[in-house]
Symmetry: D2
Subunit: 295 residues, 4 copies
């Protein structure tokens, strides 16, 4: 769906306004309707605040309807192709549309357990997750009681809405829905930034398979031209940065053993805040290195 | 074959002496014979020195015969079971007796290339190598000329002999044939050794498969009870140490994110000197770590 | 006073036993008397335990007499030369016998404040302290109430007694009265221990003057031949280690700027546990370094 | 003297042009005259290039006159008040106008030795130096031959000219005459920037006295609001950064010993390139720290 500007929304008639924002909350155009009279919204943050307030104030019956309007994760609707456009894109982002039959079975079983315990679908803002962290969420949340899950479901719906709203509406401000993952490499053997180091970022799944997420070369400042991840959340999960530091030190002719003591340096870390800034640098000599969560 | 003491060797008659040392050089009891009159040998190092001297002084014809007396690596003799006991054990140590058919073909081809270029078998002290580093040796050495390979073949034979001699003969001294790989873990968040950290050592093959080599828990000093590798050479190759530092920091109740920023820390490094001391420690907080080749 | 062995003490008659241990507690031979019948003591720790138990069980009147039997720190008795031999040596160890007139005045005033508030002399095990930390002790302890100070005075007397006992009696075991301060230097530029690095240890006083405590050269393992401090407590206080790392890197011909970025590296740290093991290593390249409390 | 814009210079008549630039080279308005016809200069770099070219092309006689037109460092002219305005400010910047009698004597003797060997005054761009590094320059340069010193004198005059030109003329570009010294502090115990850390920068003289150069507090990003040194060269010399990290860790309630193991962390380093960027960060826990020349 095309972007619309906040300015246009502030000037639109009610039908246009509601149509534009009908899908921010799944199958719930009434949320857009509820905030129409509150215009103008000088910032996207205030529009978002108004819409979530409307849901909070709507009473538990309407909230329940909203919750129940969500599809199962990786459910039959997905296979049958009957998802909303947004849901479809969201589920695809984390690979829920490409499950093996075993994985499909597994999600199916978890969805059923969840539904039979809480009588609502399992809702999670998938853009903030990897397949592994969603499975971990099932484990954790199946132990909650119904009241807690009602709250969590709403919170996840608000996260989904923030993400959709930030994409749909061009505004002077942005909602805090994206994270940033960056690195830099310092050659503490030569006392200078390490230029031309090949850097790869992998997502590591529990099942030990890993998927390449980004690849870059460091520039003269030891940094990559742009962050390895930006303009999107960093899915909760485990990652490995690989730095081809042995090749770098060969190129600058630093004395090394054969084979070099350090060839590719892997830095494995987990992301807990998808909207956070993760700066994970490498300080290296041919015989030592350090890394840390920087700023 | 049972161990014999240096003292016994110094007192033995010629037949017993030569029998005991007949296999130090492959199919070449004449080396033992040549040094019999040089007794007594106060140290193993002097016996070894005398035997290698005898080979060096023997002239190129005898040296060639010695070289040609060695079997192919992972060759038909191995499959046919006609290796000497020592060769069999040595080739098994690096897995050359358990090759897949593809690997067997590959070794077969390399052996043939080597033999057709140099007219001698490819000789390498396999106890100092991994399968990967042997394949890399083929690549490097196939580019040499015959004179260089004659020299290298003798040098490798001397390494094999040192290894066999050190195992066969109990003496006050040891030949320098073994390496040591050790680690320790320091908790720089709490300012103390990290106790109870699970440590695993893997050998990493080019083909990306990894084999568990050792597993240990750190003690109250942050060290493992004994080195991860000792009393044998550390095969030339690539390794990964895995430190379960996230579990450790959970246990000592250091504040961490969920999931922890650092769960398992992998330290990947290569060994170039199988007889060297490699101390590879980890200094860690929940948010940073450093490692280095220490002493 | 000459050392006596635990064995001799276990066999001695009462007079000899009491004479030998009369001064362990200041002007209080009754403590030795009290434990005479408890012999034999298989270890020094058990003898120490018995003597401190005797004081604990002696009732507050005797305890008060014991406390009051101690001289003022840096007091008139010191200037007049009327201290016990042990007290004299102890006060000299921290320089209390060489105070300037200003310092003497200052101690005098603090002693008087303390005495007028608590009616007992200020007691501290001076071997565990620097002049600065004793002054800080006055500050802290002057804020306590009398009951707390009674307890602390006894605890300090027990520390003094442990120290005296460990020096007086040769035994299979040692009381935990000594600390150890050690270092090592690793050249992470070259991947090896740094040999021949000049190391100096200074005690840093609040008044900004610093006194050289020890000086050493690192050996081939990057360590000093013996710890910088051992066989005595490490006085509570502030220290600086100076490593002449610029000279070292010049010698091994590592590229450096002129003047070198790192010449002398100072590591400043404080000691809080005089009986602790402080290992403070340096990992350095010409452009970076790290230090930590190690083990 | 007031600034003039490059634009004004490009439009000025010859008298105004030469007057404005008469003092860029000491007592040598002919340099400005020589480049007048080469106008317009689109950048300051091109004006500077033209002026230094004019000196290079002027022949050794004029060069010698230029060199000899410079006053002695810390010489009688300084005491007598007969320096040019620029020379006076330059010499004052490094304290040459506030020498003790001993220092004055020492400079006097070195000046005389230099003059009697080379028959020219000792010329150095003092803004790039500390008193210590100037004295070291005397030592080094007194060993040169006359030809080398002629070259060095010109090079230093060019540096002085660059500095004066960059200050005198407002232009779209800047000459590379200034350096930058910055820091940041990372709390690797908590995994975040360290906010509110007091940082002090001292210049350390050989004579062991130290002068406070800058003082700052780190902000929420662990950085100081502006670099500790910028908009001027960083004088060649030795510096110490002091980080009050113990106070910081007390404030964030990280467990520490009493006194804290790390109170004030000193980082001592030397600057060799006054126009360089020196970034000297601190990564610290209560028990460990690291620093390096960063970027």
């Amino acid at each position: 769906m095309a972007q619309v500007s906040l300015d246009e929304l502030n000037k639109a008639d009610k039908t246009a306004f509601v149509t534009a924002l009908a899908d921010i909350f799944e199958h719930a155009p009434w949320v857009a309707e509820a905030v129409f009279t509150r215009r103008p919204f000088p910032t996207l943050a205030l529009l978002y605040e108004a819409m979530t307030r409307a849901v909070r104030d709507a009473g538990s019956e309407r909230q329940n309807a909203l919750i129940k309007g969500h599809p199962d994760l990786a459910g039959k609707a997905a296979r049958a192709g009957s998802l909303t456009i947004d849901s479809k894109a969201e589920q695809a982002s984390v690979g829920l549309d490409r499950l093996t039959d075993d994985e499909f079975e597994s999600f199916h079983r978890l969805n059923d357990s969840y539904r039979s315990k809480f009588a609502i679908p399992f809702i999670v803002c998938v853009r903030r997750h990897t397949k592994d962290s969603i499975l971990r969420q099932f484990d954790v949340r199946l132990k909650n009681d119904a009241a807690a899950e009602h709250k969590i479901a709403l919170a996840e719906i608000f996260r989904i809405a923030a993400f959709r709203l930030d994409q749909r509406v061009a505004a002077p401000d942005h909602l805090k829905v994206n994270g940033r993952l960056s690195t830099h490499v310092l050659d503490t053997h030569g006392g200078r930034p390490a230029e031309g180091v090949a850097v790869e970022l992998f997502e590591i799944a529990n099942s030990s398979t890993s998927a390449l997420v980004a690849r870059a070369l460091t520039n003269a400042n030891g940094r990559t031209e742009k962050p390895l991840i930006c303009d999107r959340p960093i899915p909760i999960g485990c990652y490995e940065l690989h730095f081809a530091i042995g090749d770098y030190f060969s190129r600058v002719k630093a004395p090394q053993s054969d084979p070099p003591f350090l060839g590719v340096v892997p830095i494995r870390f987990s992301v807990a805040e998808p909207e956070g800034h993760y700066h994970v640098p490498l300080l290296a000599t041919p015989w030592s290195y350090a890394s840390y969560r920087g700023s």
